[in-house]
């Protein structure tokens, strides 16, 4: 059913290196496709997106947003035609370290008050690496030290204590008393970013590749790292996993055997 307008890419990343701060990075090209049967006119607007509490999105045409020049200032697309906008960054040396996020809204221009305007927006992510801080606080959340049955999922809370967007990844291993890996899981398969001051809960479904004992102590080990700077972190916790059904089966079996042998010994005597 969809037609409307298609934007590609929907987001782009630019990194400003300290030594290249004065140089102009390559322009970022965004392509719009008019899927409708009408001629459409687009005008770009650059807005800086801010996350004061790590969640709420505030956008505004800030001074920093004005340093991104998007050309052309107006683009007319015939039905089924496509055209491009070019975003050129000219950020000052004084731009603060860390990640800055911008929305470049391509609005269908209609000089018609009282109407409903439509726009598609591209995300432009700019990271100033000078004095960038990559720091996270990882925490295993809600895992009980005693579990009836196997733990099927682990949750890892990552808090970004730095000033830069980071992508955390981690492999979770479940090890038995001999150190053998019996299960594993990973987090953040969608490569979600954690913004500064933001806390994100990442679920890690666990897959078991080896049989587990009815009752045993298992070590849950998290080996993680954050991208882009490959800072690593590790966490461990111990869990006593009890499989009630299997345990009951063994208890009944052993009790039956004891009863059987006792009875047999009496009979023999």
């Amino acid at each position: 059913m969809t037609n409307g307008v298609t934007l590609s890419p929907a987001f782009a990343e630019v990194t400003l290196f300290q030594q290249l701060a004065k140089q102009q990075p390559q322009p970022v090209i965004f392509t719009l496709t008019n899927n409708t049967a009408q001629e459409l006119v687009f005008r770009p607007e650059v807005l800086e997106a801010q996350f004061p509490d790590g969640k709420q999105l505030n956008v505004a045409a800030t001074e920093l947003a004005k340093t991104i020049l998007v050309l052309p200032t107006e683009l007319t697309l015939a039905p089924q035609a496509r055209g491009t906008f070019s975003a050129q960054l000219s950020m000052p040396d004084t731009v603060s370290a860390g990640t800055h996020q911008f929305l470049i809204a391509f609005q269908q221009y209609r000089n018609q008050p009282g109407s409903i305007q439509s726009a598609v927006a591209a995300q432009l992510i700019v990271t100033q690496q000078k004095e960038a801080i990559y720091k996270v606080s990882p925490e295993i959340v809600g895992t009980q030290h005693l579990s009836l049955g196997k733990i099927n999922q682990l949750e890892l809370k990552i808090e970004n204590l730095g000033n830069t967007y980071v992508r955390p990844y981690a492999r979770i291993s479940v090890l038995d008393l001999t150190g053998r890996v019996v299960g594993f899981g990973t987090i953040n398969t969608d490569s979600q970013v954690v913004k500064p001051h933001q806390q994100v809960l990442f679920p890690a479904p666990l897959t078991y590749t080896q049989p587990t004992l009815p009752i045993s102590v298992y070590q849950v080990k998290v080996d993680g790292r954050i991208v882009p700077n490959d800072t690593t972190f590790s966490l461990t916790t111990s869990v006593v996993m009890i499989d009630p059904v299997t345990t009951l089966f063994w208890v009944v079996l052993i009790t039956s055997l004891i009863f059987f042998f006792k009875k047999k010994r009496r009979t023999t005597a």
């Binding site: 059913m1 969809t2 037609n3 409307g4 307008v5 298609t6 934007l7 590609s8 890419p9 929907a10 987001f11 899927n35 409708t36 049967a37 009408q38 459409l40 807005l47 999105l57 505030n58 956008v59 996020q101 929305l103 809204a105 609005q107 269908q108 209609r110 018609q112 008050p113 009282g114 109407s115 409903i116 305007q117 439509s118 726009a119 598609v120 927006a121 591209a122 995300q123 992510i125 992508r167 990844y169 981690a170 492999r171 890996v181 594993f184 990973t186 987090i187 953040n188 398969t189 969608d190 490569s191 979600q192 970013v193 590749t209 080996d223 993680g224 790292r225 991208v227 490959d230």
Partner: protein, 357 residues
């Protein structure tokens, strides 16, 4: 062959020297005098171990452009070189690819390491044990076939959109058995795209711009819901999904003829409010992915509405990639008995869609 046999015998005894002094007599010299890897033995003392092959030549690889033969003990002890992995993009991902490795007939406790590159291995990165991509390869990144997802494979994450990646695999089965890399398999991510459309209609139908929504006649003291709804189409392959924002120009319905009187937009239950204007999401649906959900305060029922002011406010959210997302939005307004009557109450709305990064 007068003394050559005894000299040969001496040479055989002097095993540690064999790579430096080849067995020879006055007349003959023997090159390549091992047969496969079978002619050696393993000598071990408390402090030292020696694994040796009698007469092994020192690694003259025989190769053509298509085939190669690895000579000697080292090659014989290596695991089987895996077959090229299968690399696919089954769901039009923009930042991940599916990889299924082939064991190459190695035992189940064989571990495998994966190298990945977007420039034909001019620069090489590695698939980490957490299935993301990193610049280093550590022992922790060698996983078994089961660890790499067995026949179902796994999704390597954190890739760049619109990029072709080549992936190759090497195997390790105990110490000193690591193979060279396999042939490479390749697959491509696609660009992150967003498709968005609006319609204004009483029913679920396509309409063309300009989008004008007529609320109708307002009755004092009662809440009026516009017969027409704002319909939203949303598609994206962004793994993080997309959001739709709503904002107004004036912060409510304004009448020029009534001295710029403003029916202020509010977040409220219009049943209990004396006057107000706002939006409420009526329906959400999608073909696949998402799911598309309404965001508070636009997700209320009855006459509960969310504010439409000059701030971009999230009204719809898709948690993941979505196909054929479709939502309907009501506009509701309530007037008081003291609200000036006028025929030109209006507001200019902007609906923006953006893929989530």
């Amino acid at each position: 062959m007068n003394c050559s046999f005894s000299q040969l015998k001496k040479s055989l005894i002097a095993l540690p020297m064999m790579f430096f002094v080849l067995p020879a007599s006055t007349n003959y010299q023997m090159h390549d005098f091992g047969f496969g890897a079978g002619g050696g033995s393993t000598g071990v003392s408390t402090n030292y171990g020696l694994t040796a092959l009698v007469g092994e030549s020192s690694g003259n690889a025989l190769s053509s452009s298509n085939y190669s033969v690895g000579p000697g003990l080292t090659f014989t002890r290596q695991a089987n070189v895996p077959v090229a992995p299968t690399v696919t993009n089954p769901s039009s991902y923009n930042n991940k690819l599916k990889i299924v490795i082939d064991t190459g007939g190695n035992p189940s406790d064989t571990t495998f390491a994966l190298a990945i590159s977007s420039d034909s291995f001019a620069t090489t990165q590695y698939v980490k044990s957490d299935f993301s991509v990193g610049s280093t390869l550590t022992t922790a990144d060698y996983l078994t076939y089961a660890g790499w997802g067995s026949s179902s494979g796994f999704l390597v994450t954190g890739l760049t959109p619109s990029t072709t990646y080549a992936v190759k695999v090497k195997a390790l089965h105990k110490n000193f058995t690591e193979t060279g890399y396999s042939a490479a398999g390749s697959g491509s991510t696609i660009g992150a795209i967003l498709t968005f459309d609006l319609d204004v209609s009483t029913i679920d139908a396509k309409t063309a711009p300009p989008y004008i929504l007529d609320i109708g006649t307002l009755s004092p003291g009662s809440t009026v819901t516009a017969g027409q709804k704002i319909w939203v189409d949303l598609d994206t392959n962004s793994a993080s999904g997309a959001q739709v924002y709503l904002k107004g120009l004036q912060g409510g319905l304004k009448s020029t003829s009534a001295n710029n009187y403003l029916i202020t937009s509010v977040t409220a239950d219009l049943n209990s409010a004396s006057e107000g204007f706002g939006a409420q999401v009526a329906t959400v649906a999608q073909s696949t992915g998402g799911p598309l959900t309404s965001v508070s305060p636009y997700s209320g029922a009855s006459q509960n509405v969310g504010i439409i002011d000059s701030t971009y406010r999230t009204i719809l959210d898709s948690a993941g990639a979505i196909t054929a997302g479709r939502a309907a939005i009501y506009l509701k307004v309530k007037t008081a008995n003291i609200t000036p009557a006028a025929a030109d109450y209006s507001e200019t709305l902007t609906v923006i869609a953006a893929a989530k990064y």
